[in-house]
Amino acid sequence: MKHIKTINKPYLQSTLKTGGCGECQASCQSACKTSCTVGNQVCEKRK
């Protein structure tokens, strides 16, 4: 496309049915533990 460069493929909607296994790491958001926002997390199934 001329006006748009898409950086990533959408994945969020597809996880509505497949997610929730709960195997991923906890993601504390307080500064004392590096505030790992959930966005920084890695899916344990897909890594």
Partner: protein, 453 residues
């Protein structure tokens, strides 16, 4: 503008995020302007509105591209509601053990009051409490294989013998139960010695180590119990610790305050010392203290994040890159929606255990009486509280529902919300502003990396 999209600018680059699909687009100025009013089905109105600025043919061409995105599910994706895979009840798989409610440092911004959390007795955790905590996780984590324990304080190395005991106990119970425990220890580094370094490295314990950047930044706010600077003592210890683990399996984290809003220099100082897995956080503090960050500081901090992005990219391009935790957003394979609703898990998947064995939603809540859940021996007595936390997700919080960052940050820190608003459902808004800027910076970094790779 629609709450399901977010657009922003970094230098001469324009960005568009589709919130409900998580797709990031780098766009040009015409698309950027169109997105002020484009709703997916109002092309004629958009063209009429922008006809003084752009040719009709160009507007139509740009709109055609936007319609292609919509057709591909990359723009105006459907609203996300609570998915069936998000269970009503959480399984507790993660615990933070306050193995020492005592500390050998006196960091001025400490949320835990010199590590004591209001416990003037400076209690050290016993082996029995530690074992009971491990058993609690095994019993309450159901089918979850991966479990976590964070040795925390105060300063956990103050009670190293119990850390060693719990570690051995965990490894034994892993063999017996099939669970896999990830162990982490968060330390200020002052008590590191050959014995503790060998123990941490030999037992595959991840470490989170605290350094605030430049020596003058660090020493001003992180003195020892006698008021002396600690930088010169801890940096060599950190280097020795990391050399013994191939410079892996660690995070170095720092805190910036109003004293050092030029924190890019602190991040680069850490990198120059050879530490390359870094994080730098804004201080969270309530009350009239000179190092507190206030709303008036935001413009300066936002400009500083832009400088940090620039410095980060410069080093990366020069082959001297470092890993900055908050820029490391995975745009392609991030966590599922259920995880994004679970957030940090505090109070329903993650508990803190005080040195006495009391259970709290997380380490920051320790000592806040109304959040006491129970203890590791008798279990949770306040059974309503875990539900309160489980339901405290972005789709149930008024401010979060309409925030573009909701599926990245997952609603922020409950403890901060409670600290500032006395209600975990009302986010700490200054923190939100910082978070959003940091996320924009992360998106910029990831997008530039993707375009340059």
């Amino acid at each position: 503008m629609d709450v399901n999209i977010h657009k922003f600018r970094y230098k001469d680059l324009y960005f568009l995020l589709d919130v409900n699909s998580g797709t990031v687009h780098v766009i040009d100025k015409i698309i950027y302007d169109i997105m002020d009013s484009f709703a997916g089905n109002n092309d004629a109105a958009v063209i009429s509105q922008l006809s003084a600025d752009y040719k009709q043919a160009d507007l139509q061409e740009a709109l055609d591209e936007l319609h292609k995105l919509i057709d591909m599910g990359q723009l105006f994706a459907p609203n996300i509601e609570i998915p069936p895979v998000f269970a009503d009840k959480g399984l507790v798989k993660s615990m933070c053990l306050l193995v020492a409610q005592d500390c050998n440092m006196r960091c001025k911004y400490c949320f835990a009051d010199a590590g004591e959390y209001g416990d003037a007795d400076k209690t050290l955790m016993s082996k029995e409490v530690g074992e009971a905590a491990v058993e609690y996780i095994i019993k309450h984590s159901g089918k979850r294989k991966h479990c976590e324990i964070d040795f925390f304080g105060g300063e956990p190395l103050v009670n190293l013998s119990v850390v060693k005991h719990i570690t051995a106990y965990v490894r034994k119970r892993e063999q017996e139960t099939g669970k896999i425990f990830k162990l982490t220890l968060t330390t200020n580094g002052l008590a590191l010695n050959d014995d503790s370094i060998a123990f941490l490295n030999d037992n595959n314990i991840s470490v989170v180590i605290s350094l605030d950047g430049r020596k003058e930044t660090h020493d001003r706010i992180r003195p020892d119990a006698g008021g002396n600077g600690t930088y010169d003592r801890i940096v060599p210890k950190f280097k020795k610790l990391l050399a013994g683990r191939n410079n892996e399996n660690y995070y170095m984290r720092g805190t910036y305050t109003k004293y050092d809003l030029d924190f890019t220099k602190d991040v680069l100082s850490m990198a120059d010392e050879g530490f390359d897995i870094l994080s730098m956080e804004p201080v969270v503090t309530k009350g009239d203290v000179p190092y507190a960050i206030t709303e008036a500081d935001l413009p300066e901090i936002f400009a500083e994040y832009d400088r940090l992005v620039e410095a980060y990219m410069q080093r990366r391009r020069a082959g001297k890159g470092f890993f900055f935790f908050h820029f490391n957003v995975d745009l392609n394979d991030g966590p599922c929606v259920a995880k994004k609703l679970s957030g940090c898990g505090a109070g329903h998947e993650y508990y803190a255990v005080s040195a006495h064995g009391d259970l709290y939603p997380c380490h920051q809540f320790v000592g806040r009486d109304k959040y006491l859940l129970g203890n590791v021996f008798d279990g949770v007595k306040n059974t309503e509280m875990p539900n309160h936390f489980r339901n405290c997700h972005v789709l149930n919080k008024e401010l979060c529902r309409e925030c573009w960052a909701r599926f990245f940050c997952s609603g922020g820190c409950h403890a901060n919300a409670d600290l500032f608003n006395n209600d975990i459902y009302k986010p700490y808004e200054l923190g939100c502003e910082l978070q959003k800027k940091r996320l924009e910076s992360a998106i910029v970094v990831q997008a530039i990396n993707a375009m340059e790779d």
